[in-house]
Symmetry: C2
Subunit: 459 residues, 2 copies
């Protein structure tokens, strides 16, 4: 394979959001570099997070999910090879399976963005005889998954979703919109368990239960049906009681498993969570090898604990940093990730940043339940904000919110957390005020003030 430039050879494995972004920023940083992406699927960089909306029909054509097309990469002078699976890395070369051929390419810098696979929970009879998922059982990580689901659910009635996290609930809404009867089964006591505290989760639960069936503290233990799934056995974790519910379709969304096969093969260190370990420059322990996205582990900004990166927002920022550094720039990620995240379920906006209370010590929280607008203004809608802060220095260490426009509010909290702001300082931050927009003391600050009032009552 020839090089279009005489500059450095930068090779990216995987054209998901993080890999594609890395290539983009490498190109911007060094116009002389030769930037090449190998992507094993046939799709150019597309939005995985949008797959539920492809199922619901909100997005009517899978082509629309492609955020950066082959053409785009070509115009950006990035060599993108689709349907090209890197099978081996050796002596600073990648070996790529394209159809029946194996081609090879040298690199100066390598960026691994191999992503992750869906984790499959231990459910009896979930696999067929060939070791694949039984007919009617799906994961939801690729366009092909979504198209397979869309094709299968025609004339089906009941769908069971294993896992009440972000993807599980977004899928639940999609199936509801497709007029299926939807049941979500969550092992933990609350839905969105890694995002919301129990009390905040229940606020969401109370609104969702009008649309879908939700079993928390329940496990799917067994699949029934020979040829294809017919029903599932569900077990109450507390009472140990078991019962069957009909299921024409089962969606597994219980987390991800980083795809680290290639990284491991060249000696990249793998962390306790199974992801590639990288530093703030997105370098692995192997010289000239970077890693980004769902195949990596991150450290939480507040707790410093490891987690598997499963958020596009993080993957993209890793991509920026790895791309710039691989191309000779010098940029570092912050000291850990804030894990800002959001979703919209049945028109309810939900957002959070930082760990939930259960993962924190010595915290005090403030919760504000009120209106987005001044009380006298007729267009206010309900908003609930919970702020978590360290009891000693009053530093904000987390925030969760449910209601209109909460995602942008959580961004402000993310910025505050990054700068280790205290609730006292946050109250002094001038937020935008106008009657048709927000009150003088925004709900964010009101939640901070609740923390102060609680502390005063204690003293």
């Amino acid at each position: 394979m020839g090089s279009y430039y005489m500059g450095e050879e930068i090779v990216v494995i995987g054209c998901g959001a993080s890999g594609g972004t890395a290539a983009q920023f490498a190109r911007k940083t060094d116009r002389e570099a030769n930037v090449t992406i190998f992507e094993k699927s046939e799709y150019s960089q597309y939005s995985k997070c949008a797959l539920p909306y492809l199922i619901s029909g909100k997005i009517d054509d899978p082509k629309k999910l492609v955020e950066f097309s082959e053409d785009w990469f070509s115009r950006a002078k990035i060599n993108l090879f689709l349907s090209s699976e890197v099978t081996e890395i050796k002596n600073k070369r990648v070996y790529v399976k394209r159809g029946k051929r194996i081609i090879e390419k040298e690199y100066d810098k390598l960026i691994i963005a191999t992503g992750a696979k869906s984790a499959i929970p231990p459910i009896k009879n979930i696999f067929d005889k060939e070791g694949g998922l039984k007919k009617g059982i799906f994961t939801l990580r690729t366009i092909d998954d979504a198209l397979g689901i869309l094709n299968y659910i025609k004339n089906k009635k009941n769908v069971v979703i294993v896992g009440g996290g972000l993807i599980g609930l977004e899928a639940a809404e999609a199936f509801y919109n497709k007029k299926l009867n939807v049941t979500v089964v969550e092992m933990l006591p609350n839905i969105l368990p890694s995002m919301l505290d129990g009390d905040m989760s229940r606020e969401v639960y109370n609104q969702l239960k009008g649309y879908i069936n939700i079993f928390t503290d329940h496990l799917v233990t067994e699949i029934e049906g020979e040829e294809r799934i017919k029903s599932v056995k569900i077990k109450n974790k507390n009472t140990r009681e078991e019962f069957d519910i009909p299921a024409d379709v089962l969606i597994v969304s219980t987390g991800i498993k980083p795809d680290v096969y290639l990284a491991k093969s060249i000696g990249c260190k793998i962390g306790e969570r199974g992801g590639i370990i990288i530093n703030k420059r997105c370098e692995t322990n192997v010289k000239d090898v970077y890693a980004v996205g769902d195949c990596t582990e991150g450290k939480d900004f507040v707790t410093n604990k490891s987690f598997v990166v499963g958020l596009g927002s993080i993957g993209v920022r890793q991509g920026i940093v790895a791309g710039i550094n691989a191309a000779g720039g010098d940029i570092e990620l912050f000291d850990g990730f804030l894990q800002t995240r959001t979703t919209k379920l049945f028109d309810i906006e939900i957002a959070a940043v930082g760990p939930i209370s259960d993962n924190l010590d010595n915290i005090i929280s403030g919760k504000f339940k009120g209106l987005t607008h001044p009380e006298y203004y007729p267009e206010g809608s309900q908003i609930i904000i919970k702020v978590l802060c360290n009891v000693r220095d009053k530093r904000i260490v987390g925030a969760q919110a449910v209601g209109k426009n909460v995602a942008q509010r959580i961004n402000t909290m993310a910025c505050a957390m990054l700068h280790k702001m205290s609730v006292d300082d946050f109250i002094k931050l001038e937020t935008a005020y106008a009657p048709p927009i927000a009150p003088t003391i925004d709900p964010l600050a009101a939640a901070c003030e609740v923390v102060n009032m609680k502390l005063k009552r204690r003293s």
Copy 2:
């Protein structure tokens, strides 16, 4: 007048947003203190910013504007005296005119929150023989002003608004909703001149001109009509050309003049802008005397230049700080004000923080015009973000935005500015991402990236 508590006597002059807030926070800080407010009008703490919505009819009852009622203050154990004008301060006592009586009250700490009056521009024949505004000419700062306007505009047709700032344009929308023919006359080349750069202002102008007439670079030079206003003479500042337009009603909204009579009388230092000078604890130069709100001056966080405080968001934060300190607490404002501000005009949300470009040196700006949502998601709407940053250290020194949900985005920028974040760091901030909410790279970060691209092109 007896004291309800044996604690310190804290007296607040004025029950606007800043005075009322100061009293509230003094009460919270010291439960033993005796907190007293004297308010010259008959109204308890109400929202001045909501007056345009009282005119439009969006808010149908002036009572609704009251945010904290007499009852509320009474429950909070704050002594609120309405229709009580402080006329003199001497020997740590205030003298208060209540009807025909003068009462006096000692204080340990005094908080001056006397507010401001509307500035009246030099327009020929604007006053009547008694020295008041001619019939049909109004300012818009009090409930009484708004009620007077509402009463006067019945069966009127043409309204002219002098001043194309926030209040002027909010009033313009209100009159439009009341089916009047509205003309706004702005002396400067752009509307919202202290909030937006020319290019951003024009984006708003282009949308507003479908509803109202706007003359920029024009002055109202003369009022015509004997008994009452009939028409106004308008002058083009560039061509010097003059012409008449019919005006049944004229609204003056060309800024404010701090009311510092009492403060001056006890020796409080007054600044170059005519407001009371206070430090970060909201103390004046006179011992035990604090000042807050529209009667004070602030320093801009970025330029360090003085400005007259005319924003509720600032007044309220000064109130918090003065109240806490007057009651024995210890809290400081930040080093200057960010001047976060927002409005909604004809459903267009506009927000900004920091100075406009004209007031800054050595800056480079990045402008992003795109969608609030990922491009593939059908519900995105147009958003324009402009970020101003220092060309040397890339620190963000201002941001302006027009479009859906921009106020909350500007809050994030305000938090970033407070912490002197650079555009490079802002791009790394994890913002909330989900297809129905926002793209992975939020428009805010996209505008920051435009700055980087411009700098790269220069180098």
